[in-house]
């Protein structure tokens, strides 16, 4: 079956219930950019999981995002919200309120805001511009849509008292590396690190200590949008 995910034409057989998760990404015809075959999958690494559909989901996720490195793309464990054509990405360890924060965007901005992936959006650098994409690998709640938006900024969430700070590029490395697929082979690591280097330098990245206050979305939105609007100021 042929799909178009993150602007890549993917050829992949119908593994488990993946076709149901992927119907909005189906493509009728086109040149194949990436192939995921039965032989690419290492299902045995998920042997502690019982559900074969879940195993296919986890493994195709791992394989897709590893292959994505060859297309200047990477996974970030995050929730991605789009407003007015720009993506606001909320990342961090589990339990820090990524989905809750994305949910606050829907409350604060209504139909203007859309969550395109609530767990693992794809980030790609194309002609020097970073984009976030909805993908079928989006976590338990299944929230995703086949959309693309330029990234305004990334915000790492922590628990605490409503303080948002812009991080220096070198402060972001450990945060980003902890939330992407880094159990990769050396050749792939040689693709991932240069990508993380560019992400750290080119995309405004923040840290937000929050306690899920209803006004949090308005705060992160205004700070991140402002940084995006001024992103070329420093270079002048």
């Amino acid at each position: 079956m042929l799909y178009r995910i993150a602007d890549i034409n993917l050829e992949m057989p119908a593994f488990g219930d993946m076709p149901e998760r992927m119907f909005q990404y189906e493509l009728s015809a086109g040149k194949v950019d990436m192939e995921i075959m039965e032989t690419d999958l290492l299902l045995s690494r998920w042997e502690d999981l019982q559900d074969i559909n879940l195993i296919y989901y986890m493994e195709t996720c791992q394989v897709f995002y590893t292959k994505l490195l060859r297309f200047q793309g990477m996974m970030l464990h995050a929730s991605a919200v789009v407003i007015d054509g720009l993506a606001y990405i909320f990342s961090g360890p589990s339990g820090m309120g990524k989905s809750t924060h994305a949910g606050l965007y829907l409350k604060s901005f209504g139909e203007k805001a859309e969550i395109i992936n609530d767990d693992k959006p794809a980030l790609r650098r194309i002609d020097g511009v970073w984009y976030a994409y909805g993908t079928p690998w989006c976590g338990k709640d299944g929230i995703n849509s086949n959309e693309k938006a330029e990234i305004a900024g990334i915000c790492f969430l922590r628990r605490g008292d409503q303080i948002i700070t812009r991080l220096k590029p070198q402060e972001t490395i450990a945060y980003v590396m902890a939330q992407t697929h880094r159990f990769v082979q050396p050749d792939e690591m040689r693709l991932l690190l240069p990508l993380v280097d560019k992400l750290a330098r080119e995309v405004p990245i923040f840290e937000f200590y929050n306690h899920a206050d209803p006004n949090d979305a308005l705060l992160t939105y205004s700070v991140m949008k402002d940084a995006y609007m001024r992103r070329f100021d420093d270079e002048a």
Partner: protein
Amino acid sequence: MKHNPEFVLYSVAGKQILAPTGRLAAELNGMMALNDIGAFIWKALEEETTFEQLLSKIMSKYEVDRETAEKDLNKFLDTLRSFQAILE
């Protein structure tokens, strides 16, 4: 001795990052940041090399007395060994 090729060194946002890959990435669950001398030593360890060869390389590049260089090199190699980053 030489360095373990399962680690990748790359300058990320101006920091020399030494990242484990594959099985080691899962085991170690972190990365190392090296300073300039550390990165220099890591690169020198790409080929099979002895402690003496390493020491003379460091002393020809950096202004340091033999005693200090030996002590610091030992310490650094021990750190690398603790991360399984050295193949003896």
